[in-house]
């Protein structure tokens, strides 16, 4: 980090915003020679409230669905000018803009092989417009469009496997990260930018407003998601799993009880079991559990 801040204070994120932390770490790891395309979402709204901007790098917003397409155009223009090698292009979006609205533009970008890092800030609902359910909202979450009540336990569908979808395009780098692991975000961004071709990164960012937790618990909540196995931190290079954060799994209740959006689950053992199953499947699938030898050392 130099003295020049690429992401200035004075933006209008809520106190304790996980996305604000992650976005700053991403741009600082990428450095000043970066062009950002941003689609609509919390990040766009709180950093660039017209006529103000928190960014100190070129930054473009067009529409909700097409930040990947805009970034593709930027990359093609830089290539034509012969400047691509010295300039990074980052496309960034929220979870709705990635998994629902912007999926076709993202798929096109990955398929055409543009040299772009796509960063999805996954706060697990449309927070900007008032906590509506998105494709990346986890199972049994209470949101305004999937309310929990006597007949329902919240969101009825599991989280969309976006890292796997990106991976299926055969791209060179796919990673998930979390706002609870600050150095992990910076390491993965630096690594991604050293690789040529389309890269996809998904960062789990707690939202104190939408998840209903205290603003000073952002880090704790993000870490608990990883430690329970509900949000595995994985890293794929050229289709092979090269890195994962190993954990000594905690019961999912520890993560769920920190947040208001899961409060209805705590006296519902049947649903709790289903959520625990999702975590157990993740742990088994990626081999997240620490080996007994490693844990004793």
């Amino acid at each position: 980090m130099g003295d020049r801040l690429l992401y200035k204070p004075g933006h209008t994120a809520c106190a304790g915003c996980g996305q604000a932390i992650a976005a700053r770490l991403v741009i600082e790891a990428a450095g000043p020679n970066t062009i950002i395309a941003n689609n609509t979402g919390c990040l766009e709204v709180f950093t660039t409230r017209y006529p103000e901007s928190a960014w100190d790098v070129p930054w473009i917003h067009s529409l909700f669905e097409n930040c990947a397409a805009v970034a593709s155009g930027i990359e093609a223009a830089l290539k034509y000018l012969g400047k691509k090698d010295s300039i990074n292009v980052i496309a960034q979006a929220g979870d709705g803009g990635t998994a629902d609205i912007g999926l076709q533009a993202l798929s096109g970008m990955l398929e055409r092989g543009h040299d772009i890092l796509y960063v999805c800030y996954d706060n697990e609902a449309y927070m900007n417009t008032g906590i509506q359910r998105s494709g990346l909202t986890p199972y049994d979450t209470n949101t305004t469009t999937s309310p929990a009540g006597s007949k329902s336990a919240g969101n009825i569908r599991p989280k969309k496997p976006m890292p796997e979808i990106a991976l299926a395009h055969g791209i060179p780098y796919v990673a998930t990260s979390s706002a609870g692991y600050l150095q992990d975000i910076q390491r993965k961004v630096k690594k991604a930018l050293s690789i040529k071709g389309p890269k996809y990164m998904q960062i789990h960012v707690p939202c104190p407003l939408g998840w209903r937790h205290e603003s000073n618990l952002t880090m704790d909540v993000a870490r608990l998601a990883v430690e329970t196995g509900l949000y595995p931190l994985i890293e794929y290079e050229n289709g092979a799993l090269i890195g994962k954060r190993q954990i000594s799994p905690k019961p999912v209740e520890e993560y769920l009880k920190t947040q208001g959006r899961f409060k209805h689950l705590l006296n519902n053992p049947a649903e709790l079991k289903k959520v625990q199953e999702i975590a157990d499947n993740n742990i088994k699938k990626y081999g997240l559990k620490v080996e007994s030898q490693a844990s004793s050392s």
Binding site: L5, Y7, K8, P9, G10, H11, T12, A13, C14, A15, G16, C17, G18, A20, I21, R24, L25, T47, T48, R49, Y50, P51, E52, S53, A54, W55, D56, V57, L182, Q183, P208, E214, S215, N216, L217, T218, M219, D220
Partner: protein, 89 residues
Amino acid sequence: MFGPLIVKPQKSKGDNTGAWRIQSRPKFLQKDCIACRMCLLVCPEHCISGKEKNTYQTDYNYCKGCGLCARICPKKDIEMVEESSGDKQ
């Protein structure tokens, strides 16, 4: 209002979001600081600055009082104090 709306970079500096603090503010005790920079890394506002041990300080013009820095400090060298306590800095 037609065509691209172009804004000068860094213009958000004019927004003093410190007025958002309602309950408490972080107080940097500057006693046991080991300059691990975790408070600087975690601040969503990016308004904490400092280089050497015991020099870290926040800019109250922007600090929204979320309390993340006090929570993450491994030495408990940052504490949240009541906004109304009249305790400057």
